[in-house]
């Protein structure tokens, strides 16, 4: 049981998250407290969830893209485009405060986000452009498009319904959290209750073998890019809604890096194949908690990035099979019973095969 637990790839990210929370509690004893005000929940934990919601969504789309052996660098740009379109529409509308206007604005934004995803998907799955290059195009161009939409200005809106997605509450919880978690739950059901997850992993591990087995490899790859862009579009709406403004220069800036990091911390390999949605949630939460910790710990802005980098390196190292093998090997080397002629019993101590499997993993 314990062995099963320690073998889980989710162990280290989960421990890292707990450790970060403990650090925060030590720094701010009231960190874990959640209070109710006007029927809404408030507190640092809620803040972490709400602020992390957009990254979580983007990381969700990124997980599926990475599982297909690809990468999507354009998500940050799509965030900016989506927010810009929505704000521009609301700001220009005759009646910004009407629900209809806001819904139209969101539909336009998400429609364009999906169109951008179609573009990425076409480049990668139809024309076979390497994903990093294909999405790099939009990463650069997309922000330009967002700047064109907003005329290079920060477009502000004063629309109560528009604020709901990013800053509103429902059932005591921020709407953004509810949206992100619902999308996660839906996708989780979709990939694990249908065969989509298995087929996606198959394509990510060995595209040619999958094709020969009759898997619709192109459609699957195409779909993950569209879905990734849709996630980024929703995240863009959340960010714009939260601040009631579209900042084409800064909205979603570097969010692709945070998303990729969240995926990797969550244990999904950048080489594609097997993926973990739960891992990605943990990864996104770690990144957001880290950001919060930096603020509450009063770390100076100059050293913030270095601090973040250190934590990320630690988590990634703990997950790396080779690093873990080094640790286990050191332990197994010193274990007793490594006598001259290793009898069969000595070769099978109470921790069977721990050392071997770890070293075998390291060499693959």
């Amino acid at each position: 049981m314990i062995k099963k637990l320690t073998a889980s790839p989710l162990l280290w990210p989960a421990l890292a998250l707990v450790a970060l929370l403990v650090v925060n509690v030590v720094l701010t004893p009231s960190f874990l407290s959640i209070r109710v005000q006007d029927g809404h929940l408030f507190g640092s934990l809620i803040d972490i969830l709400r602020n992390g919601a957009p990254t979580m969504l983007v990381a969700l789309g990124m997980t599926l893209v990475i599982a297909s052996r690809g990468i999507d660098l354009s998500v940050g740009a799509v965030v900016a485009v989506s927010g810009a379109l929505a704000c521009a529409h609301v700001a220009a509308a005759a009646d910004p405060a009407s629900v209809g206007t806001v819904l139209t604005a969101m539909a336009i934004a998400l429609g364009v986000a999906v169109a951008l995803g179609l573009w990425n998907g076409t480049l990668v799955s139809v024309f076979g452009v390497q994903p990093i290059i294909a999405t790099l195009v939009l990463m650069t161009a997309g922000r330009g498009i967002a700047l064109l939409i907003t005329d290079g200005q920060i477009v502000t809106t004063a629309s109560a319904p528009f604020k709901v997605l990013g800053a509103g509450y429902a059932a005591g919880l921020p709407v953004a959290i509810l949206v992100s978690l619902s999308v996660f739950a839906l996708v989780g059901l979709l990939v694990r209750r249908t065969a989509l997850g298995m087929l996606l992993e198959s394509v990510g591990i060995n595209p040619e073998a999958s094709r020969l087995a009759g898997v619709r490899h192109r459609s699957i790859v195409f779909a993950v890019y569209v879905f990734s862009a849709l996630c980024a579009g929703i995240a863009g709406l959340m960010i714009a809604s939260n601040i009631s403004a579209a900042d084409a220069n800064n909205a979603g800036l570097w969010i692709e890096m945070d998303a990729i990091l969240a995926v990797v911390i969550g244990g999904t390999s950048l080489l594609g194949g097997r993926f973990s949605l739960t891992g990605t949630i943990l990864g996104a939460l770690i990144i957001q908690t880290l950001t919060t910790t930096v603020y509450t710990a009063g770390i100076t802005p100059e050293t913030t990035l270095v601090f973040k980098a250190l934590v990320v390196i630690a988590v990634c190292l703990l997950q790396a099979p080779k690093f873990r093998a080094l640790l286990t090997r050191r332990r197994s080397r010193t274990r007793p019973g490594s006598g001259p002629s290793g009898s069969e019993k000595a070769a099978q101590p109470s921790e069977p095969s721990g050392g071997v499997s770890a070293t075998a993993m390291a060499t693959k």
């Binding site: 209750r193 249908t194 065969a195 989509l196 298995m198 087929l199 992993e201 198959s202 591990i205 060995n206 040619e208 073998a209 999958s210 094709r211 020969l212 087995a213 009759g214 898997v215 619709r216 194949g273 097997r274 090997r329 002629s341 290793g342 009898s343 069969e344 000595a346 070769a347 099978q348 069977p352 095969s353 050392g355 071997v356 499997s357 070293t359 075998a360 060499t363 693959k364």
Partner: protein
């Protein structure tokens, strides 16, 4: 690093004693001993899963051993990585060419040992040195050409050149002849003998018994992770060797002839008909008909168009000419999906690259083709999957019988069985098998041949491709002979291996 000039030829340069390696749930090696003597070619024999690959990985530092010792030149070694093994003078050429196709031949040969000048790689010296090494093997390959531009057989020889580049005292050749034609094998053997005479200890792994008897001086036989014994090759005849490798399962080989005889049925309905099917330049337009319950063999050398033809019939490549009919109806097989929808299955010769999904479990690999055909939205019920997986793991004797293991952990023969089962689960009407027995041992080979004969007896059409002519001759009802992308002959099952060889070589036919 030359071999010490010595009269101590009987002292082994490498000695493994009581080596044991545990894998989760499996004892891959159990107290195994192996001695390699300078100036000798030593064959390592055994079935799939007998522990050959594991033993080689222990010897090359890929796996850490759990018990026992490895001594090189009398000094006990503890390899923690392939590099240490190499530094101790042990070089390896693996079954599947493990080189970088995007680098040049010279870069591949000298990778990690590039000649340097002022801290930079001296490409001219590198190409010169590589040309020398290739020259020693009588190979005229341009060292500056890209490795991937050469056929697999040449790449293999480059891999051997790479291994000799370190002046290794111990050279391990793991199934080096799988992709080579007869001339290239002869070439390889010449090189091996030269290295042997220069004092190199060579460990040779091959499932071609002819080759083992032609080249080896001594052999060690493994079975189920244990050593059966070490014998001078001259003193162990074929029957005794097979008995040592298989134990009690020898009789399987004899049964096949009976099954094949039973499956030779009269003319039945044509499952797949191809008219003028071709793809320039590899396949010149030809006609192929495959009937229900018939095993059609494709015989030809590497590059004769046998694999290319198979891929056309499965829709893996688009033909440049010709039409296909399935059950008499015209069918455009534009993709593998389309072919699968028509009940055609195809097992590629490239198990690792085009067959298994390494990181997925045996279970997922087994149901992949069926699930892909159903579409993602109609997942197989867990109970149905369990039943299918149990039935086929049992029927094809896939070991270890744990459906949750990643398929990459299995031996080559068991991976092949997983692939066959993947297709059998889709209940195809035509099964195209490209080299299904390549690189696997006698026992699994016999099992697969028997399976194919049985499938045909049950009414399935089979297109069977193999480089081993006796296998093709034994199993086929009808054999198409290909040479240089052309169909040069069609013969019946009574054709002898000698006749086939003549047809393939083109003597008297041209």
């Amino acid at each position: 690093m030359t071999a010490p000039p010595s009269g101590q030829t009987t002292a082994p340069v490498v000695h493994l004693r009581d080596v044991t390696i545990d894998f989760p749930g499996v004892k891959a090696l159990d107290n195994v001993e192996l001695r390699l003597v300078p100036g000798e070619i030593h064959a390592l024999m055994g079935e799939n899963g007998a522990g050959k690959s594991t033993l080689i990985k222990a010897l090359t530092g890929v796996y850490d051993i759990d018990a026992g010792s490895i001594t090189v030149d009398g000094v006990e070694q503890r390899f923690t990585g392939p590099r240490q093994a190499q530094e101790a003078g042990i070089s390896t050429v693996y079954q599947e060419v493990n080189l970088c196709p995007n680098l040049t031949v010279a870069e591949n040969i000298l990778l990690g040992r590039e000649p340097r000048r002022f801290g930079r790689i001296d490409f001219r010296a590198m190409n010169r040195r590589a040309a020398e090494l290739l020259g020693e093997l009588d190979l005229t390959i341009d060292p500056a050409s890209t490795l991937g531009s050469h056929p697999i057989a040449l790449q293999q020889l480059v891999a051997i050149a790479r291994a000799t580049a370190v002046s290794a005292r111990v050279l391990i050749l793991d199934e080096p002849t799988s992709s080579l034609d007869a001339d290239e094998v002869a070439e390889l053997f010449r090189v091996m003998r030269r290295l042997r005479d220069a004092g190199t200890a060579i460990l040779f792994v091959s499932h071609f018994l002819d080759q083992v008897y032609a080249i080896s001086d001594r052999m060690t036989v493994l079975r189920n992770g244990r050593r059966v014994g070490e014998y001078p090759t001259a003193e162990l005849d074929r029957v005794a060797l097979i008995a040592a490798m298989l134990g009690h399962e020898v009789e399987v080989l004899d049964e096949i002839a009976d099954t094949v005889a039973a499956s030779s049925t009269a003319q039945a309905q044509i499952v797949l008909g191809a008219h003028d099917i071709g793809r320039a330049p590899a396949v010149t337009p030809m006609d192929v008909d495959i009937h229900r319950g018939e095993v059609v063999g494709l015989a030809g050398l590497l590059g004769s168009g046998r694999t290319e033809l198979a891929r056309l019939l499965f829709g893996a490549d688009r033909p440049t000419s010709g039409q296909l009919t399935v059950d008499g109806e015209p069918a455009a097989l534009r993709s593998p999906r389309a072919a699968i929808a028509h009940g055609i299955a195809f097992s590629s010769e490239d198990r690792k690259g085009e067959g298994i999904i390494g990181d997925l479990t045996i279970r997922d690999n087994l149901v992949l083709a069926l699930q892909a055909r159903r579409g993602f939205a109609r997942p197989l019920a867990r109970r149905v999957t369990d039943e299918l997986v149990d039935r086929y793991m049992e029927a094809l004797d896939i070991r270890p019988r744990d459906p949750w293991l990643p398929v990459k952990n299995l031996s080559g023969g068991n991976q092949q069985k997983v692939l066959l089962a993947r297709w059998l689960i889709t209940e195809p009407r035509l099964f195209i098998l490209d080299e299904p027995t390549r690189g696997i041992d006698v026992g699994a080979k016999a099992q697969i041949q028997k399976l194919v004969a049985g499938l045909a007896a049950d009414g399935m059409g089979v297109l069977f491709i193999s480089a081993e002519l006796d296998e093709v001759a034994r199993i086929s009802d009808r054999i198409l002979v290909l040479r240089d992308g052309r169909q040069v002959a069609e013969v019946g099952s009574d054709c002898s291996v000698a006749d086939l060889t003549t047809l393939i070589a083109g003597e008297g036919a041209a």
